[in-house]
Symmetry: C2
Subunit: 422 residues, 2 copies
């Protein structure tokens, strides 16, 4: 494949254009005519091909110069593929085994050839189907703790971190999507917004008139835009995670940039809570009571596991410029380091609640809805699920400094789900 | 002057090397032999020449490839001159008239030719001499509010801000100085530290064993390193300000980088408070009671003026991605925007107290002391002044979230100065 001007792949041209690459031949064999290609991209932005042969398979992901969900009227630069590639390599180094292996990257064609994960399914889909994945809480806790800690001034040489910060600072357009679609558009009548109408009209108007909520959303946006703390995944929802019962992989980090640790964690937790509130819309096949209990358990265990691993790294790999051991452990003040850790964890918890609440809102009020709710065909039922999630999101975001633990957050979710408070 | 390999200027070579520059000839005349050159650099890092003729004068500032205060054993890259130049141009655009005019910049020679400010003196020197400058509170309030607001996502196009963030992210070595010398070294027995001994040995040991203080210092360092909120001056102390009774100019922004707004404000206020606590060491010529009252008044008026101007800009120039008018004013919710402003100002106040306390400590416990205290020859008297400042710094830093206004901070300063609390 020439590295010349960009040309979108198709099912028909992929074999011809990529057939010469050793990275593919090594996995698919030299008989290119026998390669079977299908396009499976169901995301909002890119082309995704699965290429298989009798010998194996690979995934080919190619960026398009526009937002796939919207069309050519919304241009989006191909360089997001470059940021995705660089994020994947860093995540692989910091949290081994948590992302797909990369076989080939072509910057000009905005194209990444990577491991075909099978029989993995998208986590969001599995949760909609009522599957209880036994490993996600632990695996995602480790992924987040390791990538967030090891990409920050807690662990990195600060010179390298600042150079990397400068590299990712150019991922402007994808940050812009988050800045607008997540933090602002949901809170006024922006053109691209949509919500389940007319059922939600009342609560939507109420939320958009809610001064404390609007200020909170902008406070979180301020933090998102200003706090360049670590290399984030940037889009860590359940649609960016592929799972089996025994394996968990995080994909699609094209939104990667240096931001606050709490953003990734908050977005992921928001998606678990949305799954929780959506379960009653998927009860045709039977009660989802056990699934709801499972999801609250995942939240409890994932946050707990995150804290355990983050604390372990704090005690063993805190070699960066922040909270140096020369001030604490090296002077016999181990408790000083623990006190600082508590401050960091407390702030992260507070901030992640803010990010989580806003993420819930944008998925119900903004442009990019998620299948948890969208796949509920009865709009009355869907709206009831969404309204509960909206109330919950408002409460955890605005009340974030006064909600002390996951137990309390989950208790609030239960109160709202069961109708005990409305 | 050739733009070849770097060569430090001397008084003897300056005329020959710079005599061909139109930027100098326009101000000094073509008779280079009649130019009078003297070296006046009294800072820690650079060469500074004043070049005069009968027609006028200019300042030539040249970086050296090492820290002047320490010597060639501590290399420091010449590119800091590049960052200083870029910071000066941005400050000039954002706060017109507040910085020296730039006539010429030579990146390879790390050399900036700029306006010769006369009869200006260094503000720190004036305060030591007991001079009450009538305009500094207002002028510095405007400088800070305008540069900090206009360099942030409150006002800038975010794409430009991120490109600029990437540019200044390379100013690693000067950030490293602040990260180490300000936030960490003072709190353990670092090699470069010095303090007035033996008089301060007791309180120094006490502060270095103070767990809450150490954690606070590292919390502030975390904020300094991670919160890339606006283009800071980065070294805004009273030695970086030149004054007359009618003019105030800010110089020496080579530490410029994207950091938290509260850092510049906190550092400046710390230096006013240090001047306050140092006055009793300069009373040979008479009581400094009026000078102390003046300094507390400057702090009160500067913070008040900062808030007034920042609020004015908030209401009139808030055109960036944060706290957009589309969510507030455009929907008739003016009070929502005011509520957000209060949140931003409250956070800035809290953070600046933290930065101010740490800045006070590093100037007494660390490498770079300041003349306010150093020029007090009687070390017993000097130590008494310094001890009060140290106590004050500890209190405002650790207690920053519970100290509500400048009135309270100044009341604490008065209590400590008068010995009412110790």
């Amino acid at each position: 494949m020439d590295a010349g001007s960009f040309e979108a792949l198709t099912v028909d041209t992929l074999g011809r254009r990529l057939g010469g690459l050793e990275a593919l031949r090594a996995r698919l064999g030299d008989d290119v005519a026998a390669w079977r290609t299908r396009e499976v991209g169901d995301g909002n932005l890119n082309l995704v091909f699965i290429v298989e042969s009798d010998k194996g398979g690979v995934v080919v992901k190619q960026a398009l110069p526009y937002v796939r969900l919207v069309g050519e009227s919304w241009p989006l630069p191909l360089k997001r593929s470059y940021f995705e590639y660089h994020a994947l390599t860093r995540q692989a180094a910091r949290a081994g085994g948590s992302v797909p292996e990369i076989f080939h990257f072509d910057e000009a064609q905005a194209l990444i050839v990577m491991e075909y994960l099978t029989p993995h399914v998208i986590l969001r889909r599995a949760l909609i189907d009522g599957r209880q994945l036994p490993k996600i809480a632990d695996d995602l806790a480790l992924f987040m703790a390791r990538t967030l800690f090891r990409g920050s001034d807690l662990a990195m040489e600060t010179r390298k971190r600042k150079a990397d910060l400068a590299l990712f600072a150019d991922n402007v357009e994808l940050c812009d999507i988050t800045e607008n679609l997540v933090f602002s558009d949901p809170y006024f009548e922006a053109e691209l917004n949509a919500h389940t109408a007319p059922q939600l009209d009342g609560i939507v108007a109420q939320l958009r008139a809610d001064r404390d909520l609007k200020v909170t959303a902008q406070r979180m946006k301020h933090l998102f835009a200003a706090k360049a703390e670590t290399l984030l995944h940037g889009d860590l929802h359940t649609g960016s995670i592929m799972v089996t019962d025994t394996d968990t992989r995080v994909i699609d980090p094209e939104f990667a940039f240096y931001g606050p640790m709490a953003f990734d964690v908050g977005m992921l937790f928001a998606n678990f809570w949305m799954s929780y509130f959506s379960q009653s819309g998927h009860e045709e096949g039977g009660s989802r009571e056990a699934m709801r209990a499972y999801l609250l358990g995942v939240l409890e265990r994932c946050w707990s596991g995150f804290r355990v691993e983050f604390s372990r790294l704090w005690r063993s790999e805190r070699d960066g410029i922040l909270y140096q051991k020369s001030l604490f452990e090296d002077r016999g003040d181990v408790l000083g380091a623990e006190q600082a850790l508590d401050a960091v964890m407390h702030e992260m918890w507070t901030d992640l609640l803010g990010f989580a609440g806003i993420e819930i809102h944008r998925r119900i009020l903004g442009l990019a809805h998620n299948a948890d709710f969208e796949s509920i065909e009865d709009t009355d039922i869907r709206a009831r699920c969404e309204a509960k999630a909206l109330q919950f999101g408002r409460q955890i975001a605005v009340n974030r400094a006064r909600m002390h633990s996951m137990t309390e957050a989950n208790a609030l979710a239960t109160l709202i789900e069961t109708g005990a408070v409305a």
